[in-house]
Amino acid sequence: MDWTTSPESPRPPPSARPPVPDRRPPIPVKIVIAGGFGVGKTTAVAAISEIPVLTTEAAMTEVAAEIDRTGHTPAKTVTTVALDFGRITIDSEIKLYIFGTPGQDRFGFMWRDLTEGALGALVIVDTRRLNDCYPAVDYFEKVGLPFVVAVNLFDGKLDHDLADVRWALAIGGSTPVITFDARARHSVRDALVAVLRRALIETTPGSAHSGR
Protein backbone atom coordinates (compact mmCIF):
# COMPACT_ATOMS: atom_id res chain seq x y z
CA MET A 1 0.00 0.00 0.00
CA ASP A 2 1.09 3.53 -0.66
CA TRP A 3 1.03 5.64 2.43
CA THR A 4 2.96 8.59 1.03
CA THR A 5 1.18 11.79 0.26
CA SER A 6 -0.47 11.45 -3.09
CA PRO A 7 1.59 13.41 -5.65
CA GLU A 8 -1.31 13.92 -8.05
CA SER A 9 -3.27 15.97 -5.55
CA PRO A 10 -1.18 19.03 -4.82
CA ARG A 11 -2.75 21.14 -2.14
CA PRO A 12 -2.90 24.88 -2.51
CA PRO A 13 -1.64 26.86 0.47
CA PRO A 14 -4.24 26.94 3.25
CA SER A 15 -4.79 30.68 2.87
CA ALA A 16 -5.85 30.26 -0.77
CA ARG A 17 -8.30 27.52 -0.01
CA PRO A 18 -11.87 28.19 0.94
CA PRO A 19 -12.93 26.10 3.90
CA VAL A 20 -13.82 22.70 2.50
CA PRO A 21 -16.92 21.26 4.06
CA ASP A 22 -16.67 17.61 4.96
CA ARG A 23 -18.63 15.37 2.65
CA ARG A 24 -21.40 13.52 4.41
CA PRO A 25 -21.12 9.72 4.47
CA PRO A 26 -24.02 7.77 3.00
CA ILE A 27 -26.92 6.58 5.14
CA PRO A 28 -26.34 3.02 6.33
CA VAL A 29 -29.24 0.59 6.51
CA LYS A 30 -29.10 -3.02 7.57
CA ILE A 31 -31.14 -6.18 7.23
CA VAL A 32 -30.24 -9.26 9.26
CA ILE A 33 -30.55 -12.77 7.86
CA ALA A 34 -30.93 -15.42 10.55
CA GLY A 35 -31.66 -19.12 10.79
CA GLY A 36 -30.03 -22.41 11.69
CA PHE A 37 -26.67 -23.71 10.55
CA GLY A 38 -26.52 -24.54 6.84
CA VAL A 39 -29.97 -23.17 6.10
CA GLY A 40 -28.76 -20.89 3.29
CA LYS A 41 -27.95 -17.59 5.00
CA THR A 42 -24.59 -17.01 3.33
CA THR A 43 -25.98 -18.34 0.05
CA ALA A 44 -28.71 -15.71 0.20
CA VAL A 45 -26.24 -12.93 1.04
CA ALA A 46 -24.01 -14.01 -1.86
CA ALA A 47 -26.96 -14.14 -4.25
CA ILE A 48 -27.93 -10.51 -3.70
CA SER A 49 -24.67 -8.75 -2.72
CA GLU A 50 -22.91 -6.49 -5.22
CA ILE A 51 -19.56 -7.50 -3.71
CA PRO A 52 -18.21 -10.96 -2.81
CA VAL A 53 -19.39 -11.94 0.67
CA LEU A 54 -17.11 -10.45 3.32
CA THR A 55 -16.34 -12.24 6.54
CA THR A 56 -15.31 -10.49 9.72
CA GLU A 57 -14.22 -12.09 12.94
CA ALA A 58 -16.15 -10.97 15.97
CA ALA A 59 -15.83 -11.94 19.58
CA MET A 60 -18.89 -13.30 21.28
CA THR A 61 -18.90 -13.37 25.05
CA GLU A 62 -21.11 -15.87 26.73
CA VAL A 63 -21.61 -16.79 30.31
CA ALA A 64 -21.72 -20.55 30.57
CA ALA A 65 -25.04 -21.86 31.77
CA GLU A 66 -23.42 -24.39 34.07
CA ILE A 67 -21.01 -23.85 36.91
CA ASP A 68 -17.41 -24.25 35.82
CA ARG A 69 -16.33 -27.69 36.94
CA THR A 70 -13.02 -26.34 38.28
CA GLY A 71 -14.49 -23.65 40.47
CA HIS A 72 -17.61 -22.07 41.79
CA THR A 73 -17.91 -19.04 39.54
CA PRO A 74 -19.83 -19.22 36.28
CA ALA A 75 -17.36 -19.58 33.41
CA LYS A 76 -17.26 -16.71 30.98
CA THR A 77 -15.84 -17.64 27.61
CA VAL A 78 -15.07 -15.63 24.55
CA THR A 79 -15.61 -17.39 21.27
CA THR A 80 -14.73 -15.98 17.91
CA VAL A 81 -17.52 -16.19 15.40
CA ALA A 82 -17.49 -15.39 11.73
CA LEU A 83 -19.93 -12.78 10.53
CA ASP A 84 -20.75 -12.83 6.82
CA PHE A 85 -22.10 -9.78 5.10
CA GLY A 86 -22.77 -8.24 1.74
CA ARG A 87 -23.69 -4.82 0.40
CA ILE A 88 -26.09 -3.25 -2.07
CA THR A 89 -25.72 0.38 -3.11
CA ILE A 90 -29.31 1.56 -3.27
CA ASP A 91 -28.65 5.05 -4.62
CA SER A 92 -26.08 7.81 -4.21
CA GLU A 93 -27.07 8.28 -0.60
CA ILE A 94 -28.10 4.87 0.80
CA LYS A 95 -26.03 1.74 1.34
CA LEU A 96 -27.79 -1.46 2.36
CA TYR A 97 -25.87 -4.08 4.32
CA ILE A 98 -27.05 -7.65 4.67
CA PHE A 99 -25.61 -9.42 7.70
CA GLY A 100 -25.87 -13.16 8.20
CA THR A 101 -25.99 -14.30 11.81
CA PRO A 102 -23.42 -16.87 12.93
CA GLY A 103 -24.58 -20.44 12.42
CA GLN A 104 -24.87 -21.62 15.97
CA ASP A 105 -28.01 -21.14 17.96
CA ARG A 106 -26.25 -19.66 20.96
CA PHE A 107 -26.92 -16.03 21.59
CA GLY A 108 -24.19 -13.91 23.02
CA PHE A 109 -24.12 -10.19 23.45
CA MET A 110 -23.23 -9.99 19.78
CA TRP A 111 -26.87 -10.36 18.86
CA ARG A 112 -27.70 -6.97 20.26
CA ASP A 113 -24.78 -5.55 18.30
CA LEU A 114 -25.95 -7.26 15.17
CA THR A 115 -29.57 -6.20 15.31
CA GLU A 116 -29.16 -2.68 16.75
CA GLY A 117 -30.46 -0.22 14.17
CA ALA A 118 -31.57 -2.95 11.73
CA LEU A 119 -34.63 -2.28 9.58
CA GLY A 120 -35.77 -5.87 9.88
CA ALA A 121 -34.78 -9.50 9.61
CA LEU A 122 -35.30 -12.47 7.36
CA VAL A 123 -35.50 -15.77 9.21
CA ILE A 124 -34.64 -18.62 6.86
CA VAL A 125 -36.28 -21.92 7.63
CA ASP A 126 -35.54 -25.48 6.56
CA THR A 127 -38.80 -27.33 7.18
CA ARG A 128 -36.84 -30.52 7.96
CA ARG A 129 -35.18 -28.68 10.87
CA LEU A 130 -37.79 -26.22 12.04
CA ASN A 131 -36.37 -26.13 15.57
CA ASP A 132 -33.21 -24.43 14.35
CA CYS A 133 -34.96 -21.12 13.78
CA TYR A 134 -36.77 -20.89 17.13
CA PRO A 135 -34.00 -18.87 18.83
CA ALA A 136 -34.03 -16.25 16.07
CA VAL A 137 -37.83 -15.99 16.05
CA ASP A 138 -37.87 -15.69 19.84
CA TYR A 139 -35.16 -13.06 19.84
CA PHE A 140 -36.73 -10.85 17.16
CA GLU A 141 -40.13 -11.07 18.83
CA LYS A 142 -38.57 -10.13 22.15
CA VAL A 143 -36.74 -7.06 20.83
CA GLY A 144 -39.59 -6.04 18.52
CA LEU A 145 -37.60 -6.27 15.30
CA PRO A 146 -39.91 -6.75 12.30
CA PHE A 147 -39.20 -10.05 10.54
CA VAL A 148 -40.39 -12.35 7.81
CA VAL A 149 -40.09 -16.13 7.89
CA ALA A 150 -38.85 -17.52 4.58
CA VAL A 151 -38.90 -21.24 3.84
CA ASN A 152 -35.92 -22.07 1.66
CA LEU A 153 -37.03 -24.41 -1.11
CA PHE A 154 -33.91 -26.53 -1.34
CA ASP A 155 -35.29 -28.92 -3.90
CA GLY A 156 -37.93 -26.67 -5.36
CA LYS A 157 -40.81 -28.20 -3.46
CA LEU A 158 -42.51 -27.43 -0.21
CA ASP A 159 -42.64 -30.29 2.28
CA HIS A 160 -45.04 -28.56 4.64
CA ASP A 161 -47.97 -26.26 4.23
CA LEU A 162 -46.99 -22.68 5.13
CA ALA A 163 -49.89 -22.62 7.59
CA ASP A 164 -48.27 -25.61 9.33
CA VAL A 165 -44.96 -23.75 9.53
CA ARG A 166 -46.70 -20.73 11.03
CA TRP A 167 -48.48 -22.93 13.55
CA ALA A 168 -45.30 -24.85 14.47
CA LEU A 169 -43.35 -21.63 15.01
CA ALA A 170 -46.27 -20.06 16.89
CA ILE A 171 -45.85 -16.76 15.12
CA GLY A 172 -48.51 -14.10 14.92
CA GLY A 173 -50.70 -13.50 11.91
CA SER A 174 -49.02 -10.20 11.09
CA THR A 175 -45.64 -11.85 10.42
CA PRO A 176 -45.46 -13.02 6.79
CA VAL A 177 -44.41 -16.60 6.04
CA ILE A 178 -43.13 -16.95 2.49
CA THR A 179 -41.15 -19.37 0.34
CA PHE A 180 -37.99 -18.46 -1.53
CA ASP A 181 -34.86 -19.85 -3.14
CA ALA A 182 -31.70 -18.63 -1.40
CA ARG A 183 -29.65 -19.25 -4.58
CA ALA A 184 -31.78 -17.03 -6.81
CA ARG A 185 -31.05 -13.31 -6.81
CA HIS A 186 -34.60 -12.26 -7.70
CA SER A 187 -36.05 -14.54 -5.07
CA VAL A 188 -33.77 -13.15 -2.35
CA ARG A 189 -34.59 -9.63 -3.55
CA ASP A 190 -38.33 -10.33 -3.20
CA ALA A 191 -37.79 -11.78 0.28
CA LEU A 192 -35.89 -8.66 1.37
CA VAL A 193 -38.66 -6.46 -0.05
CA ALA A 194 -41.15 -8.48 2.03
CA VAL A 195 -39.03 -7.69 5.13
CA LEU A 196 -38.99 -4.00 4.22
CA ARG A 197 -42.75 -3.85 3.63
CA ARG A 198 -43.22 -5.43 7.05
CA ALA A 199 -40.76 -2.92 8.53
CA LEU A 200 -42.61 -0.06 6.86
CA ILE A 201 -45.84 -1.01 8.63
CA GLU A 202 -44.02 -1.23 11.97
CA THR A 203 -42.14 2.03 11.39
CA THR A 204 -45.15 4.11 10.48
CA PRO A 205 -45.43 6.72 13.24
CA GLY A 206 -48.02 5.75 15.78
CA SER A 207 -47.57 2.03 15.35
CA ALA A 208 -46.81 -0.13 18.36
CA HIS A 209 -43.14 -0.67 17.60
CA SER A 210 -42.15 2.66 16.11
CA GLY A 211 -40.34 3.86 19.23
CA ARG A 212 -37.12 2.41 20.53
Binding site: M1, W3, T5, V20, D22, R23, P25, P26, I27, P28, V29, K30, I48, L54, T56, E57, A58, A59, E62, A64, A65, D68, R69, A75, K76, T77, V78, T79, T80, L83, F85, R87, I88, I90, D91, I94, K95, L96, Y97, F99, D105, R106, D113, L114, E116, G117, A118, L119, R189, V193, L196, R197, A199, L200, T203, T204, P205, S210, G211, R212
Partner: protein, 130 residues
Protein backbone atom coordinates in the same frame (compact mmCIF):
# COMPACT_ATOMS: atom_id res chain seq x y z
CA UNK B 1 -29.41 -25.64 25.85
CA UNK B 2 -25.98 -24.49 24.86
CA UNK B 3 -25.48 -27.38 22.45
CA UNK B 4 -22.45 -29.63 22.32
CA UNK B 5 -19.26 -28.28 23.84
CA UNK B 6 -16.42 -28.99 21.47
CA UNK B 7 -13.87 -26.95 23.35
CA UNK B 8 -13.16 -29.56 26.02
CA UNK B 9 -12.95 -29.22 29.77
CA UNK B 10 -10.66 -26.21 29.71
CA UNK B 11 -13.22 -24.20 27.76
CA UNK B 12 -12.66 -21.99 24.76
CA UNK B 13 -11.21 -19.19 26.89
CA UNK B 14 -8.14 -21.19 27.81
CA UNK B 15 -7.49 -22.75 24.39
CA UNK B 16 -6.28 -19.54 22.79
CA UNK B 17 -2.63 -19.73 21.79
CA UNK B 18 -0.58 -16.56 21.42
CA UNK B 19 0.85 -15.96 17.96
CA UNK B 20 4.26 -14.30 18.46
CA UNK B 21 4.14 -12.80 14.98
CA UNK B 22 1.02 -10.80 15.75
CA UNK B 23 0.12 -8.24 18.33
CA UNK B 24 -2.66 -9.36 20.64
CA UNK B 25 -5.65 -7.45 19.25
CA UNK B 26 -6.37 -5.45 22.34
CA UNK B 27 -2.84 -4.08 22.59
CA UNK B 28 -3.83 -1.99 19.59
CA UNK B 29 -6.56 -0.36 21.58
CA UNK B 30 -4.53 0.39 24.67
CA UNK B 31 -6.28 -2.36 26.56
CA UNK B 32 -9.75 -0.93 26.12
CA UNK B 33 -12.29 -3.50 25.08
CA UNK B 34 -15.09 -1.05 24.45
CA UNK B 35 -15.06 1.91 22.10
CA UNK B 36 -15.73 5.36 23.51
CA UNK B 37 -19.09 5.19 21.83
CA UNK B 38 -19.86 1.58 22.50
CA UNK B 39 -23.09 1.66 20.58
CA UNK B 40 -21.48 2.38 17.21
CA UNK B 41 -23.35 0.14 14.82
CA UNK B 42 -21.33 -2.24 12.63
CA UNK B 43 -22.89 -0.75 9.50
CA UNK B 44 -22.26 2.87 10.58
CA UNK B 45 -20.51 4.75 7.76
CA UNK B 46 -17.22 6.42 8.57
CA UNK B 47 -15.32 8.81 6.35
CA UNK B 48 -12.10 10.78 6.78
CA UNK B 49 -12.59 14.47 7.47
CA UNK B 50 -10.59 17.22 5.79
CA UNK B 51 -8.77 17.68 9.08
CA UNK B 52 -8.15 13.95 9.31
CA UNK B 53 -6.66 13.89 5.82
CA UNK B 54 -4.35 16.73 6.81
CA UNK B 55 -3.16 14.68 9.79
CA UNK B 56 -2.36 11.63 7.67
CA UNK B 57 1.44 12.23 7.40
CA UNK B 58 1.67 12.30 11.18
CA UNK B 59 -0.30 9.13 11.82
CA UNK B 60 1.08 5.64 12.18
CA UNK B 61 0.13 2.01 11.91
CA UNK B 62 -3.51 1.00 12.14
CA UNK B 63 -4.71 4.54 12.81
CA UNK B 64 -3.08 5.69 9.60
CA UNK B 65 -4.49 2.71 7.69
CA UNK B 66 -8.01 3.55 8.82
CA UNK B 67 -7.73 7.26 8.03
CA UNK B 68 -6.29 6.43 4.59
CA UNK B 69 -8.91 3.76 3.84
CA UNK B 70 -11.80 5.99 4.82
CA UNK B 71 -11.06 8.61 2.18
CA UNK B 72 -14.04 6.76 0.75
CA UNK B 73 -16.86 5.92 3.14
CA UNK B 74 -16.77 2.46 4.70
CA UNK B 75 -18.91 0.61 7.21
CA UNK B 76 -17.19 -0.22 10.50
CA UNK B 77 -17.44 -3.90 9.54
CA UNK B 78 -15.79 -3.15 6.17
CA UNK B 79 -12.92 -1.38 7.92
CA UNK B 80 -12.39 -4.55 9.97
CA UNK B 81 -12.36 -6.78 6.89
CA UNK B 82 -10.20 -4.53 4.72
CA UNK B 83 -7.56 -4.07 7.41
CA UNK B 84 -7.70 -7.60 8.80
CA UNK B 85 -8.82 -6.55 12.27
CA UNK B 86 -11.23 -8.11 14.68
CA UNK B 87 -14.55 -6.31 14.48
CA UNK B 88 -14.26 -5.24 18.12
CA UNK B 89 -10.83 -3.71 17.53
CA UNK B 90 -12.00 -1.80 14.46
CA UNK B 91 -14.93 -0.48 16.45
CA UNK B 92 -12.73 0.83 19.24
CA UNK B 93 -10.24 2.49 16.89
CA UNK B 94 -12.94 3.98 14.66
CA UNK B 95 -14.80 5.25 17.72
CA UNK B 96 -11.63 6.98 18.91
CA UNK B 97 -10.99 8.53 15.49
CA UNK B 98 -14.54 9.88 15.39
CA UNK B 99 -14.01 11.36 18.86
CA UNK B 100 -10.76 13.01 17.77
CA UNK B 101 -12.32 14.42 14.61
CA UNK B 102 -10.27 12.39 12.12
CA UNK B 103 -13.39 10.61 10.94
CA UNK B 104 -16.97 11.65 10.54
CA UNK B 105 -19.69 9.10 11.09
CA UNK B 106 -23.19 8.55 9.80
CA UNK B 107 -25.28 6.18 11.84
CA UNK B 108 -28.58 4.48 11.05
CA UNK B 109 -31.51 6.87 11.02
CA UNK B 110 -33.74 6.35 14.05
CA UNK B 111 -36.45 8.94 13.47
CA UNK B 112 -39.55 6.93 12.46
CA UNK B 113 -40.65 9.37 9.74
CA UNK B 114 -37.18 9.47 8.21
CA UNK B 115 -36.87 5.70 8.53
CA UNK B 116 -40.13 5.19 6.67
CA UNK B 117 -38.88 7.37 3.81
CA UNK B 118 -35.58 5.51 3.73
CA UNK B 119 -37.32 2.12 3.69
CA UNK B 120 -39.42 3.25 0.74
CA UNK B 121 -36.28 4.28 -1.11
CA UNK B 122 -34.62 0.94 -0.35
CA UNK B 123 -37.69 -0.91 -1.65
CA UNK B 124 -37.59 1.13 -4.87
CA UNK B 125 -33.86 0.47 -5.17
CA UNK B 126 -34.30 -3.27 -4.77
CA UNK B 127 -37.20 -3.26 -7.24
CA UNK B 128 -34.88 -1.67 -9.76
CA UNK B 129 -32.14 -4.27 -9.34
CA UNK B 130 -31.33 -6.07 -12.55
Amino acid sequence: MTGEDASGPTGAGQSWQPDPTRLPPYLLTGGRARPIDDNLEIEAQVMTTVAGRGELPRLHFEIRDIVALCAEPHAVAEVAVRLGMHLGVARVLVGDLVATGHLTVRRPELDPTMRAQIIERVIRGLDNLA
